[in-house]
């Protein structure tokens, strides 16, 4: 088990390094002259040269990379090219908002997706199964921001159940915080719920057909206990999908935050992209991949617990 954990940790670190390096050079390749975005089209060549010197663009690319990478290794992502404030601090301010929404959305996805998938899978082709299937086909494909717009129009503007825009920190009001992240979380979760439910449904059907389920029943076990056996064997695929969905939720949050005017990472990403503020973009990329690595690591441990073959190997 320990060897298994170490192996997964190393894999996560390798991924983190690869993404950091890849993104740095991708960003620099995509942006030929960062000063154009930072200063706008009205700036004189002299102003631009001054800024370039200030943020170190006049040095060789590899030197710039090494500078950034050394900092990143110890968790220091440098300063913004626009306001010269610490990247870490800016991300730290925005992160709780995005994490609130994404974590809430992941929880909703896990709970509702498992329930729907299990019910549909235990009774394939029942009315519930067919309704879920029809709805899921469409919900899966529709982008989260499109769903957000529908939810905003319906629940916030017409029914006025939830605020349409804005974020309330939990320290200020726990209820207000929940209300402010409910619509964004649901907009994100709806698409993910159906994916998890569909995956679990198919796995439940497949496991239910396996011989050992009949044998368990033949031993006189109750329906509930047999269902637990089925669920445990069906869950690895659904868990894997849930982890993939987490990455998708991080992506989706960027547009959804724009719709709900949430002061989160998405907003920061979008603003930095408009300005060409590369240090912030790089910081955000690395931080979000760290979260993905953590989630995948938890997933691996869960899979190892569920499936003894993985653990023993």
């Amino acid at each position: 088990m320990i060897g298994f954990i170490v192996k997964r940790l190393v894999a996560g670190i390798v991924l983190l390094l690869a993404v950091s390096i890849g993104t740095f050079f991708l960003a620099r390749a995509a942006i030929s002259d960062p000063t154009a975005g930072l200063l706008g089209t009205t700036a004189t060549p002299a102003q631009r040269a001054a800024l370039a010197a200030k943020i170190g663009l006049d040095r060789p690319l590899m030197v710039q990379f090494w500078d950034w990478f050394r900092g990143a290794l110890v968790g220091d992502f440098g300063v913004s090219w626009r306001n010269f404030q610490s990247v870490n601090k800016q991300i730290a301010i925005k992160l709780p908002v995005t994490l609130s929404v994404v974590t809430f959305a992941t929880l909703i996805t896990a709970v509702v997706g498992t329930a729907f998938g299990l019910i549909a899978g235990l009774r394939p082709n029942s009315l519930f199964d067919r309704i879920i299937k029809t709805v899921s086909v469409v919900l899966f494909a529709l982008p989260g921001f499109w769903i957000s717009l529908v939810l905003v129009v319906w629940f916030a503007i017409q029914l006025k159940w939830f605020p349409a825009v804005g974020y309330v920190p939990p320290a200020q009001s726990l209820g207000g915080w929940l209300r402010s992240i409910t619509l964004p979380a649901f907009s994100l979760a709806l698409g993910a719920i159906v994916v998890v439910a569909e995956q679990l449904r198919n796995e439940v059907i497949a496991v239910n057909k396996q011989d050992f389920v009949r044998t368990l029943r033949s031993r006189g076990l109750s329906r509930g206990r047999v269902t637990l056996h089925i669920l445990r064997n069906a869950s690895p695929a659904a868990l894997t999908v849930l982890a993939v969905m987490f990455v998708g939720l991080l992506s989706g949050a960027i547009v959804v935050e724009a719709i709900f005017s949430l002061p989160g990472i998405g907003q920061l990403t979008n603003a930095s992209s408009q300005n060409g503020d590369i240090p912030i973009l790089l910081g955000i990329t690395v931080v979000s991949v760290i979260f993905v690595v953590i989630v995948n690591f938890l997933l691996d441990i869960a899979l190892g617990w569920i499936n003894p073959k993985v653990r023993v190997r």
Binding site: L15, V19, L26, A27, A30, I31, G37, R123, P124, K133, V137, V138, F140, A141, L142, P143, G144, F145, W146, V150, V152, I157, N208, K209, Q210, D211, F212, R214, T215, L216, R217, S218, R219, G220, L221, S222, R225, H229, N233, V244, V247, I254, V255, A258, T269, N270, S272, S273, N275, G276, I278, L281, I284, T285, S288, V289, V292, I306, P308, K309
Partner: protein, 597 residues
């Protein structure tokens, strides 16, 4: 099937395999969704001729006007014609999606096929890259790319394609791998085909459908991402785009909701149509593997008349351990149902071993599943009466009936490895029924489990209790399953081909064990098999089944010494234990040839 019937066995009017396309088009969802997709494509292609106005012509007098004869869908915030912008937007959307899909397909599919077919280092490397791409939040990277080239939409959509490539990679790889492991690929290699030829002829035809399904879904996703990017303000301002229109509509949502409604509806319908088309196609392709419908109210096509019953009783009702009267089993098939067991009656005395023999499709396994009341999904059985251990189970509620399992009836399955839950230890699987069904304490259950394991001949009990199924051998797994079947001290044991999956040396051990246990515990044993050697070894009486009916039922000596039916004789003769050797056969053949010459 004897060699004579080989000629006539082909059904003369076997239905032609209908093409996937025609099955797709006979589904209403398929026709509607495909029509929508084709309409969107046509609109995008013919945009210059279809659009009534210049999509970028600003006419402030028409700003936010409601739908009219001049502007069918009204004007936008700066008075540009809504309909024309939507039509030109279709072109933008489709071009963007095309760039994405082509990129994803070119990167993903060939790499997936190569990885699945050749395996090895390339497989490991490309799988790692694919997993890594999936672990990166794509939207962030897209905004990094967009930071420099906010209006270079082709580059951005190609980047989207890179993030969708893992989808193609995985599906191409897994499909290739599945086909690669089929024996017909080995056969093709032995037949002298080159690798490119094998990929072309055997792999690619199998990959087409999954790739098209994936493309339908990926196109929808690409359109969604594209609209999301446009919503964030990425893309050239001069090009009409649905996402940008939604952004504008969103800003004027409270005053002019139509500005948001039109582009949202168009985007939503297009994506939904793609999703439905993909899902319908997926259903059509896997139609044969789908679970049968749970409702089977329809006609039974081949039911035997209700009064035709094969088989008979050998014992008085009160003397039988199991008594089955007029059992019928049917399966849902399409709109109707097919009967696979056509009314059979039999019984078995306590302490007796009854063999049920027959070839595949004879209904022998369906018969034991009916006794257990554990028919697979879609199957149902009916009886005039069924008694187990003297209790009339046909009058019981399903709950009471389920209560017979594990207490009155024990079950030994065919395939040892697939009948143990891979996620739990052997110890847990043996003790769970004892604790929850027989209400034993943890310590009692543990002691009983160890005792039965000892009885079935397992030496290393501590290790086996802690092992997972994949850590023990097939022969040992079958002993564990036998231990589980007898742990509840049932009066009847049903065994479905309990030795078929085992090697002969293990089979002999397991048969010996069954014989000993049956004698020791005085159980009635119903043993399903296709092997007359097994019958001769262990059975007291035999039922021979064919096509869902009992053709013969007698004591084991009678069946072998003087079978009533030709079919039985043919079956026994087909067991080759007593066959002439090859040299002998050749000598006979040579003599015959010489005689005729």
């Amino acid at each position: 099937m004897s060699s004579l019937s080989v000629m006539s066995d082909l059904a003369p009017s076997a239905p032609r395999r209908r093409s996937i396309l025609s099955r797709f088009l006979s589904a209403p969802a398929g026709v509607v969704s495909l029509s929508v997709v084709i309409a969107v494509i046509a609109i995008a292609v013919f945009a210059p001729w279809l659009a009534p106005h210049d999509p970028n012509f600003v006419d402030l007098a028409s700003a936010k006007v409601p739908p009219s004869a001049e502007h069918w869908l009204g004007g936008d915030a700066t008075g540009r014609d809504m309909l024309s912008r939507l039509i030109w937007g279709a072109r933008t959307t489709l071009l963007g999606a095309l760039v994405t899909i082509i990129t994803a397909l070119i990167i993903g599919a060939p790499a997936g096929i190569a990885a699945g077919y050749f395996g090895g280092f390339f497989d490991r490397l490309s799988s790692w890259v694919s997993d890594a791409l999936q672990a990166v939040p794509g939207m962030i990277i897209l905004l990094v790319v967009a930071a420099g080239t906010r209006s270079n939409f082709v580059l951005i959509m190609a980047t989207v394609g890179a993030f969708l490539a893992p989808g193609y990679f995985r599906i191409a790889r897994s499909t290739t791998l599945a086909i690669r492991n089929e024996p017909f690929i080995d056969a093709a290699r032995v037949a002298g085909l080159t690798h490119p030829r094998i990929i072309l002829r055997h792999i690619l035809p199998g990959i087409g459908a999954p790739i098209i399904i994936q493309t339908a879904l990926a196109t929808g996703i690409a359109m969604g991402i594209q609209a999301g990017l446009q919503f964030l303000g990425i893309g050239a301002a001069s090009v009409p785009a649905w996402g940008a229109m939604m952004n504008e509509g969103f800003r004027h949502m409270l005053s002019t909701p139509l500005l948001l409604l039109w582009p949202s509806a168009v985007l939503g319908i297009t994506i939904a149509a793609l999703a439905v088309a993909g899902s319908t196609l997926a259903d059509v392709v896997r139609i044969r593997t789908d679970a049968p419908s749970a409702r089977s109210s329809g006609q039974v096509t081949n039911a035997a008349p209700a009064d035709v019953v094969t088989g008979s009783f050998a014992y008085a009702p009160e003397a039988a351990a199991v008594r089955v009267d007029n059992l019928r089993v049917r399966y849902a098939a399409g709109d109707g149902a097919v009967e696979v067991v056509h009314g059979i009656s039999f019984d078995i005395a306590p302490g007796e071993v009854l063999g049920i023999v027959g070839e595949s499709g004879s209904g022998k396994s369906q018969t034991v599943f009916s006794i257990l009341d554990l028919l697979p999904t879609g199957g149902s059985s009916s009886v005039d009466g069924m008694w187990i251990g003297g209790q009339a189970v046909h009058t019981m509620s399903p709950r009471e009936r389920a209560g017979m399992l594990g207490t009155e009836i024990g079950y030994i399955p065919q395939e040892p490895m697939s009948n143990l839950d891979p996620s739990y230890t052997i110890g847990f699987q043996l003790t769970q029924p004892l604790r929850t069904v027989h209400k034993k304490s943890r310590a009692e259950a543990d002691a009983i489990a160890r005792a039965v394991l000892n009885r079935v001949g397992i030496v290393d009990i501590d290790r086996v209790m802690k092992s997972y199924p994949h850590q023990i051998s097939g022969g040992m797994a079958q002993r564990v399953l036998i231990a589980g079947a007898i742990a509840g001290r049932p009066s009847v044991l049903v065994a479905d081909e309990p030795t078929t999956a085992l090697d002969v040396t293990v089979q002999a051990e397991v048969l010996e064990l069954l014989r000993e246990l049956q004698a020791e515990l005085g159980m009635a044993l119903v043993l399903v098999t296709h092997n007359f050697g097994v019958v001769a070894d262990i059975c007291d009486r035999v039922i021979v089944m064919r096509d869902g009916a009992i053709v013969e039922a007698s004591a084991v000596e009678t069946v072998f010494a003087a079978p009533e039916q030709n079919y039985t004789r043919e079956l026994i003769a087909a067991s080759l234990d007593d066959t002439k050797g090859r040299r002998e056969l050749d000598a006979v053949h040579a003599a015959q040839t010489a005689a005729t010459a």
